[in-house]
Symmetry: C2
Subunit: 333 residues, 2 copies
């Protein structure tokens, strides 16, 4: 099965590039409301499931033990830009549990947000593991270990209690078996499991509705999504699509991007979960496709319009001359 074209890029009226992919919109009971392409093929969700991976942090009581509010929980779900505010909050989270940057095992990279990388260079600093876009999630893993009394060393490993908690949460919420033998290693070194796209969408519908989840888990899920919706910048960063998407209807849209063209979302009021995977891994296409899908299900016309600007927007060159556009194809029909 060849997936359909979900997003096109034009230049001077000619289609220059095309992105194929699959898209699923699912309700809390697992009913497929909308589907395009092969939604049963397993895909790696990568960072798009960080909100589900944060369930143990909240459910275990670790978040309350260390006094984490919405901001800390939002950062625990983040693929952040490595900006000052992200880095400081990640360090503060670790500090509350008596830990620090040296306990992280996510690795170091220059901030994803270019201007933040240049700011570091301008002041003659080098990046640390706190600048890794996953440092908030890893701070959450470490704090959960500290609270549970687990030895945090090796917390990124497939057999470690931290990753077992995450795997069990993912399995229950998505309803898809997460076979450790079929796992890959994520950019930040934790296991990532390929699951069907429709299971991912179902997982986010469950996160939003609590359907078939125990009350404590349903409450933790609501608390996590609310935290991210209240602080979209903390879960992503300056100029990122997650900010534009969540601000299109504040408090009513949850979204989370993942590497290699994955985007997940939830509409709590509609009780829907959404998931997109672009075959070729392009983030630019995933954000346009999820925006178009969200725009078909939101209630408010202003939200629909704001999402439309992400689903279809102009492209300009280095002299700010308009050269073409990125457009979700299904949003045109």
């Amino acid at each position: 099965m060849v997936n359909p074209i979900l997003v096109e890029l034009t230049r001077g009226g000619v289609v220059e590039s095309r992105h194929r992919g699959a898209l699923a919109v699912v309700d809390g009971r697992g009913r497929i409301i909308e589907a395009a392409g092969d939604v049963d093929a397993p895909i790696f969700p990568r960072s798009a499931v960080k909100a589900i991976q944060a369930l143990p942090l909240v459910e275990s009581g670790a978040a309350d033990t260390y006094g984490f509010g919405e901001r800390e929980i939002a950062l625990a779900c983040a693929s952040h830009g490595g900006e000052e505010g992200h880095v400081e909050l990640a360090a503060a989270m670790l500090g509350r549990a008596g830990l620090s940057e040296v306990d992280l095992e996510c690795g170091t990279h220059w901030p994803l947000f270019d201007a933040a990388a240049r700011d570091l260079a301008r002041t003659d600093r080098a990046p640390s593991q706190l600048h890794n876009n996953c440092s908030g999630k890893h701070a959450g893993f470490l704090c959960t270990c500290a609270c549970a009394g687990d030895d945090p060393r090796g917390y990124i490993g497939k057999g470690h209690a931290a990753q077992e908690r995450v795997r069990l949460a993912l399995e229950e919420v998505t309803g898809a078996r997460h076979d450790p033998a079929a796992a890959g290693t994520d950019g930040c070194s934790i296991p990532t499991y390929a699951v069907p796209l429709c299971a991912l969408a179902h997982g986010f519908a469950r996160m939003a509705t609590g359907e078939a989840l125990a009350p404590a888990r349903a409450q933790a899920a609501r608390r996590i999504l609310s935290a991210c919706m209240a602080h979209p910048w903390l879960t992503s960063g300056t100029g990122r699509a997650d900010v534009a998407l969540m601000q299109a209807d504040p408090g009513r849209i949850f979204t989370k991007t993942g590497a290699e063209g994955v985007f997940c979302a939830a509409l709590p009021e509609q009780g829907l979960g959404l998931a997109v995977k672009i075959d070729d891994g392009a983030g630019r296409a995933a954000e346009a496709a999820i925006a178009a899908a969200l725009s078909r299900h939101v209630a408010r016309p202003e939200a629909r319009e704001a999402l439309g600007h992400v689903a279809r927007h102009g492209l300009s060159n280095w002299k700010a001359i308009a050269v073409g556009e990125v457009r979700a194809v299904s949003s045109l029909s």
Copy 2:
């Protein structure tokens, strides 16, 4: 027609992303030696045709008037990384014709090579138009205008003598009509024309063989390709695929990348031109696909092996853990 998968990306043994595209290998007479996908569909070559766009600089005598050697001609064909050596040479080229950075109309962006961008920031400098990856090409346009006595202002425009010279060279070499009405605007603001992929490959076979070109043009083409093959770093930059590809068989392989997943190449000894367009615009796939195609036509086993490392290579994460690979699919069969 759906183009075939040319490149796959794996993670932990699972194929995570796929890139479809078209590929053509053509000889000087226009005979198709190898083809995959739709090689007749028009595509924008973008920067992949800079060597053809540099023909007027050499043919007009401007290059000789200003004493340009291989290094300057290589930079006139470059999509460079904005590194110190690129920027200084572009400035020197302009200086020989009594021009400077202010005459450029390519626009300003931070260097493509991240470390060069951070070096600028570290020393509290901002980028100029000289850091634009196309500044060498634009210096070539301006020097050609200066030598011909054309008013250089507006040299990026569709009707300007500079762009007319370029369009006529492209039309003759590729054998494809370049209709100004069907042009798009490139990243550096000059016109770019969509032409069939097989015409692009044919164009590079002609650049390599001189087939059906007037002697002066054939000689200029040879001089341009030789200059790029002698100075691959000047036509691209640190860590770039063009360097690895041209160094796989020094002096025997010419390559040039273009935005949105285009890669062109020539094998002068075999008299072949090659062109790849990845449907989704991914550079990572274009470089693997062209490497695989080149490896099927080079003579020396060492060259085949070196190209194989670009066609198929491991991927590691922020902690240098092996997580998967990028691999050209056709190179496996």
